[in-house]
């Protein structure tokens, strides 16, 4: 346990949920804002707290710390609210806290219509995100995902940009399909394991003693792979992502692309790889081929063709998920560690990109990059933050993303030379679209269209309420970039148990 008089994991879920309930019950507007600050800040602070104490905290089974179990009345089915963190969930728990805080702060200053409802939905989403990564019980892992996912649909439907109903529908169809497939896989796992429990630790123990047969593993892993794969925008099931993010309000896009999307990868790493090593080995090459040629190469090139800033960010995010899949496919212990690093780094940088894109929109009144230019003269802080975000996402050393990509590239070589070449070539592609966007939006001479907009609405630089969430994200990216051991330390504690099994099975 931690040295707090309460369970930090439970509180990090309960706090935003409680604030959401309070808002729903109709507390006055002034109080809503104050409460919302608490609802967004508390999970972040608690996440930092558990990160700080993780290395010294007592480790229980399978390297989990902070374990607690709450009864739900369904204990007979193996469904209990079991919370805890291991080296893989801890970095993502911190990610959820940090991005949640930034997204919340950005929402609070956004001046969105029906602000109360907007905050309410975001807080529910935040609670779900903290819950996903704190849950040791697979049932709740899935439940919290749905808890966070449904507000996303609603927010796109209500506050979305143009084509919002089409985007919301697309998003709903794809993500529900993905969620259903993975649910099928999880239920199959529950049934076939014979453990009679959704408790991940019990599943691990049972399956370590009596692993499933190769055919069963292959079938179940296939369900999980494509179910989770859709949720993480594995090519060719990615179409929802650019469309959905294009329409989504910025804070929802930040939370979904930054954190919730990692659910699928997390499921594969935390559940799929350790419990179904033979299934993982069977699917590895198909996964790598889809991710390498589809996500990295094809979508990388598609990203180059984008003219819409937000779609560009959406596609680039699909591309970077390819790297994460490649790391999972490569199946080495340190490659999977690299995937966890990349998940955190990508979550931070893509959230920052969506935040800044919206701030750009408020100054240019368009997302069309051909109608911008020279914005650095009006908004230098915005410009240099965008340049920092761009360089972070294209893997410049000094930012967290570099470590994830480097580790994945190195681990990939022994899996497939060709795919390593493809993956490294992706770094050139991402430099092309990233720097092209920065140049089109900020540098050179302003386009005629932007000159007109700037005359009608003279653009100002970022306000402090926009800067602070952006600074939080940049600072975290730099912190991990300069001191990767801050996350690699915890990750290492979880590595031997998880993917080593895959290596042994080869």
């Amino acid at each position: 346990m931690s040295n707090l008089p309460f369970d930090p994991l439970l509180l990090s879920i309960a706090a935003p949920l409680a604030v959401a309930v309070a808002i729903a019950l109709g507390v006055p507007k002034r109080v809503v804002v104050k409460l919302a600050y608490v609802g967004f800040a508390l999970p972040a602070l608690l996440a930092l707290h558990v990160w700080w104490y993780f290395s010294t905290a007592a480790k229980e089974a399978h390297g989990y710390a902070f374990l607690t179990n709450y009864s739900t009345g369904l204990d007979g089915f193996g469904i209990s609210l079991k919370l805890g963190l291991n080296g893989i969930s801890l970095p993502l728990f911190v990610l959820a806290g940090v991005v949640g805080l930034a997204a919340g702060l950005y929402a609070l200053q956004s001046g969105a219509e029906r602000m109360k409802t907007y905050l309410l939905l975001l807080l529910v989403m935040q609670a779900g995100l903290m819950g996903v990564f704190a849950s040791v019980n697979v049932f709740f892992f899935y439940f919290f995902h749905e808890l966070a996912l449904i507000p996303t649909f609603i927010m796109v439907g209500i506050w979305g940009g143009r084509d919002r109903s089409y985007a919301a529908m697309t998003l709903t169809i794809y993500l529900t399909a993905g969620a259903m497939l993975s649910l099928l896989g999880l239920v199959a796992l529950y049934v076939k394991s014979g453990a009679g429990s959704f408790d991940l630790l019990a599943l691990r123990d049972t399956l370590a003693a009596a692993p499933l047969g190769k055919v069963t593993q292959t079938h179940i892993f296939g369900l999980l792979l494509f179910g989770f794969g859709i949720l993480v925008s594995l090519w060719p099931f990615h179409s929802w992502a650019p469309m959905g993010y294009q329409a989504a309000p910025s804070s929802a896009a930040m939370l979904h692309a930054g954190v919730l999307k990692k659910f699928g990868l997390y499921g594969l790493i935390q559940i799929g790889l350790p419990l179904l090593p033979l299934g993982a080995a069977h699917w590895a090459f198909a996964l790598a081929a889809l991710a390498g040629f589809g996500n990295v190469l094809v979508i990388g090139l598609v990203t180059i063709a984008q003219k819409d800033l937000k779609q560009m960010v959406g596609y680039s995010s699909v591309m970077h998920m390819g790297y994460a899949f490649l790391g999972i496919a490569a199946g080495t212990a340190f490659g999977v560690g690299g995937v966890v690093l990349l998940m955190v780094a990508h979550g931070l940088s893509v959230a920052l990109m969506f935040l800044l894109s919206t701030s750009i929109y408020h100054r240019t009144h368009t997302y069309d990059m051909d109608r911008m230019g020279g914005l650095v003269q009006k908004a230098p802080v915005l410009a240099w933050l965008f340049v920092a975000a761009t360089f972070a996402s294209i893997g410049l050393p000094g930012f967290a993303n570099f470590w994830g990509e480097l580790t994945i590239f190195v681990s990939l070589w022994n899996f497939s030379h060709t795919l390593t070449v493809v993956a490294v070539a992706g770094t050139v592609i991402s430099a092309v679209y990233g720097l092209r966007a920065a140049a089109k939006v900020f540098f050179g001479e302003p386009t005629g269209a932007f000159v007109q907009v700037a005359q009608a609405h003279p653009p100002a630089d970022l306000s402090w309420s926009e800067k602070i969430p952006a600074f939080i994200l940049v600072a975290t990216l730099l912190f991990i970039g300069l001191w990767p051991s801050s996350l690699a330390g915890p990750i290492n504690r979880a590595l031997p148990g998880a993917p080593a099994a895959v290596e042994a099975s080869r």
Binding site: A168, T172, P236, L301, Q306, L435
Partner: protein, 609 residues
């Protein structure tokens, strides 16, 4: 201070300077420039103290460990690092001081000096890196610094385009570089320089053609060798002191430095490729320089050409000759660029040499020091370039006569285009209002020029180097054949006379390009030759890559998002009436159905129903 601590401070003080400027001094340009200049003074002091102190050491720490994979951070301070760090320190300080004058009226000079400090930090990281991953990390960071500083005048479309191009072209080179490092990691189990040396000493080093050639790709990008040379001339969009420091003396030389760091991995076939890439670049760039009218562009192509000499020297198997020429070139090319900066500043940002003229009397210090630098680069006996270039020519004469011929021909062209530049810019009468009113800048301009002029004059005498620097320079090859010395000396003199004489005879100071007037065919051919690479790449980017991307985008949007999604929607339609809510776009219905179902299931499972 222990040497290790000094090295650490030399690395971190510029980083601290950059951080301070970014966070605290972005609106206080004077304080920012003072911090940055003091940081560079400390670097120069530290670099000299370390070298002269004589200690050589290596230290290493773990930076990242994931499972069995580790990336270290450490210093390998040997003779090679000592020399390179000394060059970076001295040239860096000169450029910082010069920038005080040159950038004095620039509103964004806090950002500029912050950028210089980031660059110093990144460059020193490359110099001190004890393993290839760390070198790659700082390698990318100098690429970023270069992007940042080329983009200094970011209102200009040309600067925005040039900075983007520089970074992307470098990434193309780094694509190979990183693959090479990964290959080396798996082949040898280590990427630490000490580990590679140890593997070689014990006979366990894995030799392959692929590893050194992939690593060489990094040098091709950073040192702007064919076919990735296109970014360097464009990089002249940056402020002139940046061109001196980054795009002439230090960063572009990092490619050669890196090759010298990993020379034990080389195999004969790889060296053959390297020597020909270097020679071809040297010759091609010299041809390009002849038709340029922008003073900085002439110097940029000259830099390419000289880098080609260094790469060729390395390819001929001598790190000593390559590093010797790198050293002398750093001084005289930095001097040439700072001299051109002085001229540009004096002429109110006029860069066209045909609009200059008559600067000899108006800017005497600049003229004098520029003349020393020109004499050094064309190899006038007694000056720095004479010795280092002759070392390469002698090496080529002994080992590869074809390379010798190419490099000799390049030397003729070098003296030709440099004397052309010198004569047109400085001699005759002023050909513009700006040139007529040109005047020498202050002490911040002249002091660095004079200091670099002294180095450009004397850096060729190996005996003058303190013992702390001579470790690598003692490897400069001395031909065993008496005849080689005589032949090379004779050829050099002939080359010099031919190049200088023809340039003096051909070009006049009347404001026209004599080659263009007298032989338009030749002039057009050279111009087209220069533009050919940019044209080819421009065609590829606009007509191939962009169109391919558009096609893929079309397939993605129409094929996948459209048809596949319609298909999915169709299935759901068939699947049942209840799901029809989806298709009417009434999302809330779906959500309520979902939530309701979940509650019912839960209640059923829990035994409440």
């Amino acid at each position: 201070m222990t040497p290790e601590l000094t090295a650490l401070l030399v690395l971190l003080v510029p980083a601290a300077s950059a951080a301070t400027i970014t966070l605290l001094l972005s609106r206080r340009p004077s304080a920012a420039s003072a911090v940055s200049v003091l940081a560079s003074a400390f670097v120069a002091y530290g670099a000299l103290a370390l070298a002269l102190g004589g200690s050589r050491f290596s230290v290493s720490l773990e930076w990242l460990r994931l499972g069995t994979f580790t990336v270290g951070i450490g210093f390998r301070y040997d003779d090679l690092a000592a020399l390179m760090l000394g060059i970076v320190g001295i040239v860096g300080l000169c450029v910082h001081v010069f920038s005080l004058g040159y950038m004095h009226d620039d509103a964004a000079r806090a950002r500029y000096f912050g950028g210089l400090s980031i660059f110093m930090f990144s460059m020193i990281g490359i110099v001190l890196a004890d393993n290839l991953f760390m070198m790659f990390i700082f390698w990318e960071l100098v690429g970023f610094s270069s992007y940042f500083l080329i983009n200094h005048y970011n209102r200009l479309q040309s600067a925005a385009d040039a900075s983007k191009k520089a970074f992307i072209v470098n990434r193309v080179g780094d694509f190979g570089f990183l693959l090479g490092i990964i290959l080396c990691y798996w082949a040898n189990g280590t990427v630490s320089l000490a580990g590679i040396d140890a593997a070689q000493a014990s006979g366990h080093l894995v030799y392959s053609r692929l590893i050194p050639l992939l690593l060489f790709c990094g040098a091709v990008g950073k040192s702007a060798q064919l076919p990735l040379q296109v970014w360097l001339p464009d990089a002249m969009e940056g402020p002139t002191p940046v061109s001196a420091l980054i795009h002439a003396a230090t960063m572009v030389a990092a490619g050669i430095y890196m090759l010298c760091r990993i020379h034990v991995l080389m195999v004969p076939d790889a060296l053959t490729v390297i020597v020909w890439v270097g020679s071809a670049t040297a010759f091609y760039a010299a041809l390009c320089a002849i038709t340029q009218s922008d003073i900085k562009k002439v110097l940029a192509y000259s830099t390419l050409s000289q880098l080609g000499y260094m790469v060729a020297a390395f390819g001929l198997g001598s790190t000593g000759a390559a590093m010797f020429h790198l050293t002398t070139h750093a001084f005289f090319k930095a001097l040439l660029f700072l001299g051109s900066g002085s001229v540009i500043y004096g002429c109110h940002h006029e860069q066209n040499i045909f609009k200059m003229g008559g600067l000899r009397s108006r800017m005497p210090v600049t003229f004098l020091t520029f003349t020393v630098a020109v004499a050094a680069i064309i190899g006038l006996p007694g000056l720095a370039g004479f010795f280092s270039k002759d070392a390469i020519l002698a090496l080529a004469y002994d080992t590869n006569r074809a390379v010798f011929a190419v490099l000799t021909l390049t030397a003729v062209l070098t003296s030709f285009y440099m004397v052309r530049l010198w004569k047109i810019a400085f001699l005759g009468e002023p050909r513009s209002e700006a040139a007529a009113h040109a005047h020498e800048g202050g002490f911040a301009f002249t002091a660095p020029l004079l200091l670099l002029a002294v180095f450009s004059a004397l850096a060729g005498y190996l005996r003058l180097y303190p013992s702390g620097f001579s470790g690598i320079l003692s490897l400069v090859p001395e031909s065993e054949h008496e005849s080689t010395h005589l032949v090379v000396l004779g050829v050099s003199l002939v080359v010099l006379v031919a190049g200088v004489g023809s340039a003096l005879a051909l070009y006049s100071t009347d404001g026209t390009d004599a080659l263009e007037v007298r032989s338009p065919g030749t002039f057009e051919f050279l111009t087209a030759l220069r533009a050919s690479f940019d044209k080819a790449y421009g065609y590829y980017v606009a007509k191939v890559q962009q169109r391919f991307a558009m096609v893929l985008n079309f397939i993605d949007v129409v094929g996948l998002a459209g048809v596949a999604l319609r298909g999915l929607a169709g299935i759901t339609e068939i699947a049942g009436f209840g799901l029809r809510a989806l298709h009417t776009g009434r999302l809330n219905n779906y959500v309520y159905w979902f939530l309701g179902g979940a509650v019912v299931l839960w209640a059923y499972a829990a035994g409440f129903l």
